[in-house]
Amino acid sequence: MKRLLAAFLLAFAALAAHAQLTIDITTSGGRQIPVAILPFAGEAAQPQPVSTVVGADLARTGLFRLVNAVGVSPVPTEPSEVNFVDWQARSAEALVIGKVEPQRDGRVEVRFRLFDVQKQSQLASFSYVVAPAQLRATAHRIADVIYEALTGEKGVFSTKITYVVKRGTRYELQVADADGANAQTVLAANEPIISPAWSPEGGRIAYVSFDQKKPIVVVQNLAQGTTRVVANYWGNNSAPAWSPDGKRLAVTLTRDGISQIYVVPAEGGEPRRMTTTPAIDTEAGFSPDGKWIAFTSDRGGSPQIYRMPAGGGAAQRLTFEGTYNVRPRFSPDGKSIAFVQRESGRFRIAVLEVDTGQVTVLTDGTLDDSPSYAPNGKMILYEAQVGGRGQLAAVSSDGRVRQRLVSSAGDVRDPAWGPLPTN
């Protein structure tokens, strides 16, 4: 059975190429760091142009402006060749040079250096020896180093995202790089797939399958392609959310009547009931420190966001504005909660500051859903419905930068941003 599934997955992987996402960015206000990223020596002979991928990664954040390097000849690839005065004149604050050199064993060595142009000093330098097929991943790692050196925050260019593509009656759970490249179908079904959630270590995805003509919660191991049903009780089984240690899942079950929150072992096992109300309690999300579970409840008459201690106990209401606040997700620092707010019939992504109760609406769509924080907390990935079709979009957590990931693949929905890779 497992082997059959694996063969299935390989067949689908071959089809994934045409599902690529392209990205459209808009920024409003705020300073952008001018950075010059020069072509790497020798990269033209390789399957991936490393410097182009690095530049695209940085530009996509809206935090950087790429400085034109036209007319620079020869292009410096060593520190001694850099004319800092020239780059100051071009108003670059940072400069990236590098080279790609084939090794005897077929691999390639990628070196890069990042300079502070004003101080004429080196900020970072790395060398990687990789297979040519890994050059794109290496470019993302370089972008991560540059991003962290220039902003002080972790880069998320080497992370993955997952989302569901609906094509006619077919549903595909896909995993792609954070820039939408290398999309792979990890599960295909003829019934809906919803609510994919990454495990904290990134090796598993929990989701809701309707293959049995009702919602059940399944955990899929990505490397092995194996699946395990973790909740298939009488009624509905849905809304999986991982505990930060990856050992448990909060889920919504209706086995005792109305939708209530339970916690189950990630390997499956007896659920422990966490809420006891005559109202809907669903859409659980753990805080990063594991102490809290945020969730949606309509116990007060309209759906609002609450939190309760993850070990059980009294819930506390967190949202008070409006009549529809749902789908909470904690930020990686635990200080904020992204959620979906309805106002005047429009559904938008908003952020709640937990300590102050301050709410900021970040998007201006009509049917935005499924907010998911990047692991550095700087961007929120979400689903936007445009022209009756789901599309992926992202907004910076301060609302200034917006990205739309345009796919040719059909209806794209329910995204989730994966964790930082463990090196």
């Binding site: 006619g168 849905s238 109305i258 939708s259 859409e283 749902v326 859903d369 499924s370 929905r413």
Partner: protein, 177 residues
């Protein structure tokens, strides 16, 4: 186009369920019912005349029998069963009381607005509302499973009130169908 793939999906469903030959056309009739008027599902057009005699043998699929009507529609943001559907639910409750081995699933649905998971819970509450009417009328709790498809299986594919009205519903499905 939508109808075509619906039919294909239903044909697949029938094949997968391995139901008896008598019921061959049944799910098609059920599913295409709410495509135009949510309050007045019409089943006549898609029923093949050739299979008519076999179908009329089963009250659940006889278009003239109220038991062939399976969808209960709800108002926006509401899980209150409207009076116009009480007769339909009562007929199914009576059928189940008489036919003691029958079991059903009530499938709740929502329109596309709002979060997927909250909609899933709302759809389940609609299914529960239908179930409650039936249990009050004497059908045992354990014979009715309520599940929800949330906004995932719209009957109306548009993005306006006409489509949404078709999607706020509870569907009664007998075991084996």
């Amino acid at each position: 186009m939508k109808k075509i793939f619906l039919s294909i999906a239903m044909a697949t469903l029938v094949a997968a369920c391995g139901s008896q030959e008598v019921k061959k056309d049944v799910p098609v009739t059920d599913r295409t019912a709410p495509t135009t008027q949510p309050t007045q599902p019409s089943t006549a057009t898609t029923t093949s005349p050739a299979t008519q005699p076999a179908i009329t043998a089963n009250p659940l699929v006889d278009p003239k029998n109220i038991l062939s009507k399976r969808s209960v529609y709800f108002d926006f943001d509401s899980n209150a069963v409207k009076d116009e559907y009480r007769g339909l639910i009562q007929a199914h409750a009576k059928y189940m009381v008489d036919k003691r081995d029958s079991k059903i699933r009530v499938e709740g649905h929502c329109d596309e607005r709002g979060s997927r998971e909250y909609n899933l819970a709302l759809g389940q509450r609609r299914a529960e509302a239908v179930k409650k009417v039936m249990t009050v009328l004497g059908v045992q709790d354990g014979r009715i499973e309520t599940v929800s498809f949330g906004e995932e299986k719209p009957a109306g594919m548009g993005h306006d009130e006409a489509a949404w009205a078709q999607n706020r519903r509870g569907d009664i499905k007998y075991a084996g169908e």
